[in-house]
């Protein structure tokens, strides 16, 4: 998959939704959380994160508000909207079906298959 462990756009959005479903977070924090949840498999390419956040805001899945962090600094926090919560459910289902299909496809063996 080009390139290794890169997350493609839609999958990234799905993961962001999941991350935010646990608690509101700012942009940097979201990347950290996904990293933790995937046990280090996904280092979110910063290049994709912020544009994805804007797109998701446009679609009404998340909204943003400026808050003060524990270090007394201003940061933009993102929250999941009800629409976003619903979308998370849809995408999770879709992902399960799709990945199951791929797995099934890759699993079948024929004569020419060498281990």
């Amino acid at each position: 998959m080009p390139p290794e462990s890169a997350i493609v756009q839609r999958t990234l959005e799905m993961l962001v939704l999941k991350a935010l479903s646990l608690a509101p977070m700012h942009g940097w924090g979201i990347g950290q959380r996904i990293d933790q949840l995937s046990k280090g498999a996904f280092q979110v390419p910063q290049g994709s994160l912020y544009p994805a956040l804007v797109r998701m805001r446009r679609r009404g899945w998340i909204k943003s508000e400026w808050r003060v962090t524990e270090n007394n600094r201003r940061a933009r926090y993102y929250l999941l909207t009800p629409a976003g919560r619903k979308q998370l459910g849809i995408e999770t289902d879709a992902w399960e079906k799709a990945s199951e299909a791929v797995n099934a496809f890759l699993r079948t063996r024929t004569l020419e298959d060498t281990p």
């Binding site: 799709a98 990945s99 299909a101 791929v102 890759l106």
Partner: protein, 110 residues
């Protein structure tokens, strides 16, 4: 449904194609038909990304192409897996497993 699947699996195109050609050489149309049938319609690959991927794989040396005659007696371009391609298939398969597992990990904690 199909569209969502493809968008979520955007990076998996290569592995699907390579796996398909591992069974036998085919032309592009047959590849997409094969995948569609084997996944019972879940995964439908559009021509544009399919040919883009095929050409990319050809440039990378994973597949080779030549002209042949199709089942209805037309000229068609047939793709076949090379040794490099076989190696790449194995790599892509494990990459996929890791990837899917990672996504599941993120999705799991309720």
């Amino acid at each position: 449904m199909n569209r969502d699947a493809m968008e979520l699996l955007q990076g998996t195109l290569d592995v699907l194609i390579l796996r398909t050609l591992a069974w036998q050489p085919m032309h592009g149309y047959a590849v997409s038909r094969w995948i569609r049938e084997r996944t019972e319609g879940t995964i439908e690959i559009e021509d544009a990304p399919l040919y883009k991927a095929l050409h990319r794989l050809e440039r990378a040396g994973c597949v080779s192409a030549e002209w042949g005659v199709s089942e209805n007696n037309r000229r068609a371009r047939y793709y076949r897996l090379t040794a490099t391609g076989r190696r790449r298939l194995r790599e892509e398969e494990s990459a996929w497993r890791r990837y899917a597992a990672a996504v599941f990990r993120v999705l799991e904690p309720a």
